[in-house]
Structures are given as C-alpha cells and as structure tokens.
C-alpha cells in the first residue's frame, strides 16, 4: 500500500504522522501530569509539616529506620570507596611525584561529590525501595483508605515523617561517609602505600575547606527530600496488587537515583557560583 502510485500511499503516511504526533503528545502530557502531581505532593509534604498533630514519635521511628539502620552499609561502602580512591590516586600521582596530594584529592572529592551522591544512592536502594514497597502494599490492601476512613490524613501520617526523616538523616550519613572514607584513604595511602602521614594530613587540612563539606551536606539534604518524596509518591500511586507494588518500587529506585544525579549537576553549579568568593 505504501508503494501504491495512485495516491493511496499518502494516506498511511499522514495517518502514521498523526499517530506519531499523538503518541508524542500523549507522552508529553503524561510527563507534565506526573511532574504536576509530584509538585503538589511535595507542596503537601511541606505544608503538612507545620500542621498539628506533630508526629514526633513517627519521625523518630523513621529517622531510626532510615538513618541509624543505614549506618553499617554506609560505613562499609564509604570505607571501601575511600580505600579504592586512595589506591587509584596514589598510583596516578606517583607518575609525577605528587602522591602526598592523595589526602586532599580524596577529601575534596568525598566532601563535594562522592559522599552526598553515594550516600543518597545507598539510602535510595535501602530505604527508598522499602518506603515505596511499604506504602504501595498499604495502598493496594486498602490500609491507606482505612486511614482516610478514620479521619486521619494519610499524607501527614505516612509521608511527612518519612520524607523529613530522609531529609534530616541523609546529611548525617553524608558526614559519616566523609569521615570513614577519609579513614579508608588513610589506611591505604599511609599504612599500605607508605605515603608520609604528615603531608597526607596537612594537604587534606589545607585544601579541604569547611565550605566544601557544607556544600556537600546541603546537597545531601536536597537529595534526601527528593528521594524520600519520590519513593513515597510512587508508593502512594500504586495500583494493581503485587505487580503494582513491584513496579512502584522499581520506579522509586530508578527515578530517585536518576534525579539525584541530574539534580546534583545543577546544585553543584549553584553551590560553586555561590561559594566562589567565600
């Protein structure tokens, strides 16, 4: 039919073009709707924080589950991240005799980028997936409707403690990541590869400014809010039983991880601009 020379071939092309445009428009509308719903969800999360009843007990429970329970995995990941980073840097810097800069290089990289991003990715994998699965299960088993039926606001009861717990706890985990990462780098660089301790520490002290650490910690707070909100948002929108819970959990992890990396670029640019003259 496409090769028909009687003019009939123009019709399918037009139809195909229309379908393509319809499909594109449908996808765009879907994205705009999703972002709009997510923006409203985030607005509600902020607004509900300031409305009674304040649910301090739930916040502490979530802070413990998201923050304290993540410390072992954060410690393990940060230790080996610092170690491997020191290993690679030492071999690279030795080529031009600058291996004493390993401490400052690892310290700067950890403080500015690696600690906030890796901590966010680890919390996404551990706590974000758990939040999405838990809320998704509650949605499909009508437990969220049950909260509504008992005149308890589900957003305030379920979402606010989780999102604010990730927002508060992720910066703390980032600080821990920095600290243990440096220890890992020290172990490899000083104890294994025999870089002198004095220059290692003095360069670390000289080159890593408090603003680098503060910038990383601020970024991690934004990541915490973002991944907590996205995970809860996906959990809240779950449909279609067990399969839906699986889809919501996957989407929560994928969207949170990608968002953290994308937002990281823009936040880094803003932070570098703002702190340039400090």
């Amino acid at each position: 039919m496409l090769s028909d020379s009687t003019g009939a071939k123009a019709v399918p092309r037009v139809v195909m073009g229309q379908r393509l445009i319809e499909s594109l428009g449908h996808s765009c509308l879907g994205i705009v709707n999703y972002l709009g719903d997510f923006a409203i969800f985030c607005r509600d999360t902020v607004a509900w924080l300031f409305r009674k009843p304040f649910r301090a007990k739930l916040f502490i429970e979530q802070a413990s589950a998201i923050g304290l329970d993540s410390i072992p995995i954060i410690a393990l990941v940060s230790l080996f991240t610092g170690m491997v980073f020191a290993l690679q840097s030492t071999y690279a810097f030795r080529l031009f005799g600058a291996e004493t800069l390993v401490g400052s290089t690892v310290g700067l990289s950890l403080a500015r980028e690696i600690a906030p991003v890796f901590a966010a990715l680890m919390v996404t994998a551990r706590a974000g997936s758990s939040m999405a699965a838990e809320l998704g299960t509650m949605r499909v088993s009508e437990q969220i409707d049950a909260l509504d039926s008992m005149a308890v606001y589900p957003h305030q009861y379920l979402v606010v403690p989780r999102v604010w717990a990730t927002t508060v706890m992720l910066p703390l985990l980032t600080v821990i990541f920095n600290f243990i990462g440096i220890i890992g780098a020290y172990l490899v660089a000083v104890l294994l590869l025999n870089i002198p301790e004095g220059p290692f520490l003095s360069h670390l002290y000289d080159f890593v400014d408090p603003k680098d650490v503060v910038g990383g910690v601020l970024k991690s707070a934004v990541f915490g809010f973002l991944l907590g909100s996205l995970s809860c948002f996906e959990g809240f929108r779950t449909k279609n039983g067990a399969k839906g819970v699986g889809i919501a959990t996957t989407r929560a992890v994928v969207f949170s991880s990608v968002s953290v990396l994308v937002v990281d670029y823009f936040l880094t640019q803003i932070i570098l601009e703002v702190t340039r003259n400090w």
């Binding site: 299960t137 509650m138 088993s141 009508e142 437990q143 409707d145 049950a146 509504d148 039926s149 008992m150 005149a151 308890v152 606001y153």
Partner: protein, 250 residues
C-alpha cells in the same frame, strides 16, 4: 441521611455508575446487592469521599462531599466507620494497636484508659484477650473481620459501612458476622450500609435492599419485595442462576 443524585463515575473507558440515584435511610440497615464489578465498593467509597463523582452529587447530612475542603471532609468522615472487604488492618500493628488506633488519634486516650476502652470493645465481638498481642497475619479471616469491625465502631460512628463483610468466611462465621451487624445496629442505633453477595444473611439483617445493575438502581425495597420479585435479572441473582447469555459468554 446519605443521598446520591445522578452520580456518574468511570475508570478509564469503563463507566461504573451511570446516573445513579439513591437515598440511604437513617437508622436502618441497607444492603446493596449486585454482581461483581457493578460498582458496589465504588458506591461505598463515594459515601466516604474517598472517590469523587464525575457528575452528580453525594450528600451526607446536607453536606455535598465534593464541595468540602479536606478539613471539612475529614470532620464528615468522623461520622463514619468502615469495615473493609479484606479488613484493611494495619499489618505492622498488633490487634490491640489496630483497635487502639482511632482512640489514640481522636480521643487521645493512652495508658490505662486506652486498655480499658479496648477491652470493653473487644467483648462486643467476642474476641479473647489472647488475640491482642498478635499481628493480623497470625489470626484467621473471621477474626480479622471482627477486629476490623471493632476498629470501625471504636469511635461510635453514626454510619457504619460494611464492604462484603462475609466474603471468604465459612457459613458459621457468616452467621456470626450477620449477628454482629444486627447487634451493632441495635446497640448503637446507627445507619448501616452493607455490601453483600450473601442472599441468606441479607434477608436476615436487611431493613432495605438495593439492587445495583449496570450502574443504576434496578430495584429497592424491603426483603419481602425482593422475595416476590419477578424481574429475571433479580431472580437469577437471588437464586444464583446464570442466564443463557451469561453461560454462552464463557
């Protein structure tokens, strides 16, 4: 009183309610019958404002739910208690915590007063104290229904909604739940709306029966009227006979 006026509701391309008009009388037990997928649960969720109609209105005690802000809607919801189809107990909480939940939230009870209130409530449905520390996954379906019922009546609601309270239960437990619905109605003097497929218990408890078919009310009236109904759709449903077309569609 709950009033549905010309209510339409669709999910995607599927229209569930098509201009439904219904009034739920105060202080009576109204049982809503209908085949699976006819929108009975959707109807119930409209009463709580969990779902909003696309067209038409749902009015509870003179207030149109769709026009209420979230806070006013929440105040209206305090008039209701609901027993969900699968009980919808919080699976991360024990039976005691589930029952105590609405009392903690709205009565601000704690400690001894909370224990006393929960103990009094569980005796209404014949639950033993040994069940209290168990999680919902550790008790039977019938017990879960009873816990769900206790949780629903904990705040002494004016309107109690039951979404298929006897589905999945054995005949004895079905009778127990039917008796609980009647006793709750008599002791609290409330308005009850029950969704059911169980014709036997429906005749036993209903003051008023509503038959939902193709998104509208096919018939409404006391059980006696339904026993005498001649409409083939109603007769087939009540007697559990599929029509020739329904069998042919398999």
């Amino acid at each position: 009183m709950i009033k549905f006026a010309d209510v339409y509701k669709s999910f995607g391309k599927q229209t569930v309610l098509r201009g439904l008009n219904l009034t739920i009388p105060r202080g009576k037990i109204t049982v809503i019958l209908g085949r699976s997928g006819e929108g009975k649960s959707v109807l119930l969720k409209h009463m709580l404002g969990l779902i909003r109609p696309e067209k038409g209105s749902v009015v509870v005690d003179g207030q149109e739910l769709a026009k209420l802000d979230p806070f006013a809607l929440n105040e209206t919801r305090k008039k209701f208690g609901m027993l969900f189809q699968n009980s919808a107990l919080f699976d991360s909480m024990t039976v005691f915590e589930n029952i105590a939940f609405p009392l903690r939230e709205h009565k601000k009870l704690s400690g001894e007063a909370l224990h006393k209130a929960v103990s009094e409530l569980v005796t209404v449905v014949g639950l033993k104290p040994e069940v209290m520390p168990k999680y919902p996954s550790e008790i039977s379906g019938g017990m879960r229904k009873r816990v769900g019922l206790v949780r629903a009546i904990a705040l002494k609601p004016q309107i109690l909604l039951y979404d298929e309270p006897t589905t999945g239960l054995d005949p004895i437990m079905t009778d127990v739940i039917g008796s609980l619905i009647l006793n709750t109605q008599r002791s609290l003097g409330i308005t009850s709306v029950v969704i059911s497929h169980d014709i036997g218990s429906t005749y036993g408890i209903a003051d008023n029966i509503v038959m939902l078919h193709e998104g509208q009310i096919l018939m409404e009236g006391p059980p006696e009227n339904f026993k005498k109904a001649t409409d083939p759709v109603i007769r087939n449903f009540l007697e559990g006979h599929a029509s020739a077309e329904q069998k042919a569609a398999l």
